[in-house]
């Protein structure tokens, strides 16, 4: 078992799994929140509920910024070795 563990680069493999899972699911979820915010903004604007629409727009903008930051940060971290 231990010799198998030494052949397989367990630590690197686990880190790969963790990063890919967190980044893949996290970025999609945050981007979905951005789309949700944009959709709510459109609906609430049409209903002339301006404060709620502004809040939805803020959520969408923040989520979009978070996605961009995650993508740029992820690329920099993953390609720097």
């Amino acid at each position: 078992m231990s010799s198998m563990a030494s052949i397989v680069e367990t630590k690197e493999l686990v880190q790969t799994v963790v990063f890919a899972t967190v980044a893949g699911i996290g970025v999609t979820a945050i981007f979905s929140v951005a789309i949700w915010g944009a959709a709510r903004f459109t609906d609430l604007s049409q209903e002339e509920r301006r404060p709620a629409a502004a809040l939805a727009a803020g959520v969408a903008a923040l989520a979009l910024l978070a996605v961009l930051a995650a993508v740029v940060g992820g690329v920099i971290v993953m390609t720097s070795k």
Binding site: I7, I25, T28, A29, T79
Partner: protein
């Protein structure tokens, strides 16, 4: 002089492989964007080419693995590398001809391992490197992409499920511009490096570089250019298989499968795992489809792809071994590689001519056909 001729043939063949890698593998990168209507085929392929070129410059971890961790570079000769490349190109052409998205990466590694074993026996294989850095990641990566894409699309549908489909679909199509670009960049970082690794291995075998050396800049630049040109040449048949035959995708599924694929490839590249973009993106596509509805995945097509994956390493190894045996019939000089190169070129031209006579571009899904 003889060894220099063989080295030039190896480098030319490696770059030709890189070109085939571009039109064979990178089609998978743009397939989802095209099939959901997020990007026009010509634009998607042109952008993917540029990003593949850029991606090739940002890491050399995978190149180091291919050059030093799979076979013993001390006993490798340029002729062994040449025969391995022939095995990989031959397998790539066969799978491309039949429109099967198999792994160029595993074809390359299988070809080199097969020719090395034919030349020097099984002792030349570095079992730890082959198992730990190639075979196990090869199994883990597509499964990981499948699970990540499945979980992502489930979460995504929960978040946007009650919103109007039109705006949601448009949003994910915009998102696909970024996720598709990221996937192309990831592809360049991982796949172009395999050619760099093989050329570096040949340079080490020829005595032009010391053992354990990194790829020189000209190797990186030429590999980047070859994969970018191959990408631009397109891979329409495989785009069709991945983009429309495995599942009928909506924009959200396209985005999540590309996002999952990019995350898995970039993480693997960081740790020097030379995995297959093809495996990963197809795993992501199937995950995104299966999470919505198991029957959405055309499991028959998916099964054919899995069979091609399983066959790739042994088939490329067998062809690599045969290519080495055939090359050796002409002695240890440059005659064997020259004859095999001429035969390989004739086969490539023949395959292209036959395919060009039968191939057709991918039909782009209409606006109304893309749902979220």
């Amino acid at each position: 002089m003889t060894s220099d001729v063989i080295l030039v043939l190896v480098i030319g063949t490696a770059l030709a492989f890189d070109f085939t890698n571009g039109f064979h593998d990178t089609a998978n990168v743009v397939a989802t964007s095209i099939s959901t209507g997020a990007a026009r085929p010509q634009v998607a392929i042109a952008v993917a080419s540029l990003l593949n070129f850029a991606g090739a410059f940002i890491s050399i971890s995978v190149a180091a693995t291919v050059a030093n961790d799979v076979v013993d570079s001390g006993v490798i000769t340029p002729t062994i590398v040449f025969a391995g490349l022939i095995g990989a190109i031959a397998w790539n052409l066969v799978t491309w001809y039949f429109g099967l998205p198999s792994s160029s990466s595993h074809a390359l590694i299988g070809g080199v391992v097969g020719s090395a074993v034919a030349a020097s026996g099984f002792d030349v294989v570095i079992a730890e490197g082959l198992l730990g850095k190639v075979l196990i990641p090869a199994v883990v990566a597509p499964l990981l992409a499948f699970l990540v894409a499945g979980a992502s699309i489930g979460l995504s549908y929960r978040i946007v499920g009650r919103q109007r489909p039109g705006i949601v679909s448009r949003g994910f199509k915009y998102g696909q511009v970024v996720s598709g670009g990221l996937l192309a960049l990831a592809h360049g970082t991982n796949d172009a490096q395999k050619t760099m690794g093989v050329i570096t291995l040949a340079l080490i075998a020829n005595g032009s570089l010391g053992a354990g050396a990194d790829p020189p800049v000209w190797v990186i630049a030429s590999s980047a250019l070859a994969i970018a040109l191959g990408t631009y040449s397109g891979g329409w048949r495989i785009i069709k298989t991945t983009g429309t035959r495995i599942i009928k995708m909506d924009a959200a599924q396209g985005f999540t499968s590309q996002g999952a694929g990019a995350a898995v490839i970039l993480a693997s590249t960081h740790f020097g795992f030379p995995l297959s973009t093809t495996h990963v993106i197809n795993g992501g596509v199937m995950g995104a489809g299966a999470a919505k509805r198991l029957s959405a995945v055309r499991w028959g097509v998916a099964g054919n792809i899995v069979v091609a994956w399983v066959l790739t390493l042994p088939a490329a190894a067998a062809i690599g071994a045969l290519a080495y045996g055939f090359t050796s019939l002409f002695g240890s000089g440059a005659v064997g590689p020259v004859v095999v190169t001429v035969l390989a070129l004739a086969a490539i031209v023949g395959a292209f001519v036959r395919r060009a006579a039968r191939g057709a571009p991918v039909p782009v899904q209409s606006e109304g056909g893309a749902r979220a």
